[in-house]
């Protein structure tokens, strides 16, 4: 039982990271029909921003602050202005392909400019255990779950209980009507990209102490979060959240109780089942397109 609880908690921690990244997928899709296949690399890159800053002698908190600013500029504003805006005119598929190219560019750039090796990354909390109801639980896992939950609650509150949040939702639902109603649609879309940048930095700071900072670390994360977003429902934030947590837990339990070798296949089996029997995702809503 103790082992099962430990596995579930570890899975929730991994799932919390997936959820943060998956929300980014959902946000960008809703705001601007962008499927960002560089989302995994967006999580990898901030770790290197922080490493460079710490290498210059800055303390962790200052490095993290600089990372947030750099990510907001590069992975938020510049990503939208320089890649999404010009490519979106040509449709969703060319944009998706452009983000794939961006993913390769980011990966290779880090490899060439920094290193192909893995690097250690400081953790928010020390690597100790705490006793929770008789089960030894890693403080690091607890910290990840708590930080991710606080972030998710704050984001949900922003979207549901503030004027800006409602304007963002209106923009996502129908930009034309939102524009008629006087909502600054462009600014709302930009805000979505900035929120995504903040989310990937949080995910990066949480996951890199475990996965290590490496140019290729975004591959696994990006794929897992993409699958999580589809399982949960690409067009619903709560879907992405549930999908992320679900995937993290299932992945861990599958590795422990089914097979380590086939652990990567289990989420894909679930993905196939969801696509076959509930294509809109577990919490997604059906979208109809006319031709």
């Amino acid at each position: 039982m103790s082992s099962f609880a430990t596995l579930v908690i570890a899975g929730l921690a991994t799932g919390a990271i997936y959820a943060l990244i998956a929300i980014g997928f959902a946000l960008l899709w809703q705001a601007s029909q962008t499927i960002n296949f560089a989302q995994g690399e967006f999580v990898m890159l901030p770790a290197f921003f922080a490493l460079v800053a710490m290498g210059l002698g800055l303390p962790y908190w200052a490095a993290a602050l600089i990372t947030f600013v750099l990510a907001a500029v590069l992975l938020g504003a510049m990503f939208k202005r320089l890649l999404v805006d010009p490519m979106l005119k040509h449709g969703v598929i060319p944009l998706a392909m452009a983000t794939m190219a961006l993913a390769i560019f980011l990966k290779e750039s880090v490899k060439d400019l920094y290193s192909a090796e893995a690097y250690p990354f400081p953790s928010l909390v020390p690597p100790v255990n705490v006793n929770v109801l008789g089960t030894n639980v890693s403080l690091q896992h607890i910290a990840i779950i708590v930080v991710a939950l606080v972030t998710l609650v704050a984001l949900t509150w922003l979207l549901d209980h503030t004027t800006t949040g409602r304007q963002m939702q209106a923009t996502a639902q129908n930009p034309t009507v939102a524009r008629i109603l006087g909502i600054p649609v462009e600014r709302m879309i930009m805000l979505t990209f900035l929120i995504n940048a903040v989310l990937v930095v949080i995910a990066s700071l949480l996951v890199t102490p475990i996965y290590l900072a490496k140019f290729s670390s975004g591959e696994t994360l990006g794929l897992a979060a993409f699958v999580a977003a589809i399982i949960g429902g690409f067009n619903q934030l709560r879907g992405a959240i549930v999908g992320g947590f679900l995937l993290g837990v299932i992945d861990n339990l599958a590795a422990a109780y089914v097979s380590t070798q086939y652990r990567a296949a289990v989420p894909l089996f679930i993905l196939i089942a969801v696509i076959l029997f509930r294509p809109e995702g577990l919490f997604g809503r059906k979208e109809e397109r006319t031709v």
Partner: protein, 379 residues
């Protein structure tokens, strides 16, 4: 007038050719894991080889010929490695250095063997030198030689009765797993857990939970560097207090750097260690750190030894004979007193396997400390 130009041209060509001959180089093709999951391995391997080449060239080269090495990146992908080896062989190298990953060597060794070009490798899988290929020479112990030493340590020194084995599911890991289980079982040690993990795996929470459930009294970990660091951190997080034993990789400097405090207490056998209390190794470590500003690992020593092995074989022949090099090396005993670049006395057998001293070590306060020097198997 035309005759004058023609004479001058012929004379110039003759001078150029003569100069070219004087500048003839010993071309070594290095094929290593410079990116992908084995990036740390390949980077160290290449750096060690480059240090050896710089030293040798500074002293006039091998038999008066300077060494020139080009290094290609396998991306830790056996398919890419095979293509690169073929490309390297097309350029008619004197010898091929690398790859390091056994999985890559398995698919490339046939090519170097068919071409009759000596292939000095960094791989440790037992089967590599048992495939009947004539041109493979190791730079480190094969698993069939190192695992008996670590199994003896676990059974006799550690008094372990139930050991869990965690291994990476590729040629390197499978070879190590098969050999250590055979060796432990032969010594009456029970295998309490047999856990396979995947190359480049990032999340080890489930594996450590399974490890906890095995009730083993010691754990043998046989993974690559990054994965080793990740599982050590996960074991630390899980509060698992068992002796963690490894073979060379687990005590690697990069693992210690990546795992931080989680590496403390790790023990095991190391065939090559820059921390060994041996003067030529101390000098190697110092020179390496002066050149690259970081502590070399065993892969850096493999690259370094690889170049000096080629040098030793060539000097034994007294000529640059690419086809004869492997034959010259097999059965050769090289004394570190005569060839300081070999770092330790070594004997190469007819399969290309090595025999030399090795070490037991423990990680303490982020540093590897050699606790015992083990003699060669055939003293």
């Amino acid at each position: 007038m035309t005759g004058k130009y023609l004479t001058a041209a012929v004379a110039s060509a003759a001078v150029l050719l003569a100069g070219g001959a004087a500048r003839a180089e010993m071309k070594i093709a290095c094929v290593a894991e410079l990116s992908g999951s084995g990036a740390t391995v390949g980077k160290n391997f290449k750096a060690g080889a480059e240090l050896a080449i710089a030293e040798i060239n500074a002293k006039g080269g091998v038999l008066g010929q300077k060494i020139a090495m080009s290094c290609a990146d396998t991306q830790t992908n056996p398919g890419v490695a095979r293509g690169l080896i073929q490309k390297a062989l097309d350029s008619k190298p004197y010898a091929v250095l690398g790859p390091v990953y056994s999985g890559s060597i398995k698919v490339t060794a046939q090519l170097t063997s068919e071409a009759g070009v000596t292939n000095v490798i960094g791989g440790e899988a037992a089967e590599l030198t048992q495939m009947g290929l004539k041109t493979l020479i190791r730079t480190s112990f094969g698993q069939h030689l190192s695992m008996p030493k670590i199994a003896a340590y676990m059974a006799n020194d550690l008094k372990a009765k139930n050991v869990a084995v965690v291994w990476v599911n590729n040629d390197f890991g499978k070879g190590g797993r098969d050999t250590i289980i055979k060796q432990l079982t032969a010594r009456g040690v029970k295998i309490a857990g047999d856990l396979s993990t995947e190359p480049a795996q990032v999340d080890f929470a489930a594996d450590v939970a399974k490890l906890k459930a095995t009730k083993a009294d010691a754990v043998f970990i046989y993974l690559h560097e990054e994965e080793s660091a990740r599982i050590l951190k996960e074991i630390q997080k899980a509060g698992l207090k068992l002796p963690l034993i490894g073979e060379t990789t687990l005590l690697n400097q990069k693992v210690i750097e990546l795992a931080g405090s989680a590496a403390n207490g790790v023990r095991g056998h190391v065939g090559l260690s820059a921390d060994a209390p041996i003067d030529p190794i101390r000098k190697f470590r110092k020179d390496f750190m002066a050149k690259y500003n970081y502590i070399p690992d065993h892969n850096a020593m493999k690259g370094y030894l690889g170049i000096y092995t080629i040098k030793a074989g060539t000097e034994k022949m007294g000529k640059l004979d690419s086809k004869g090099l492997a034959g010259a090396l097999k059965g050769l005993s090289i004394s570190a007193a005569k060839q300081p670049g070999m770092l330790m006395d070594v004997a190469i057998d007819q399969n290309g396997d090595l025999d030399r001293i090795s070490f037991l070590a423990e990680v303490s306060n982020g540093k590897t400390a050699i606790t015992k020097t083990l003699p060669p198997l055939k003293k």
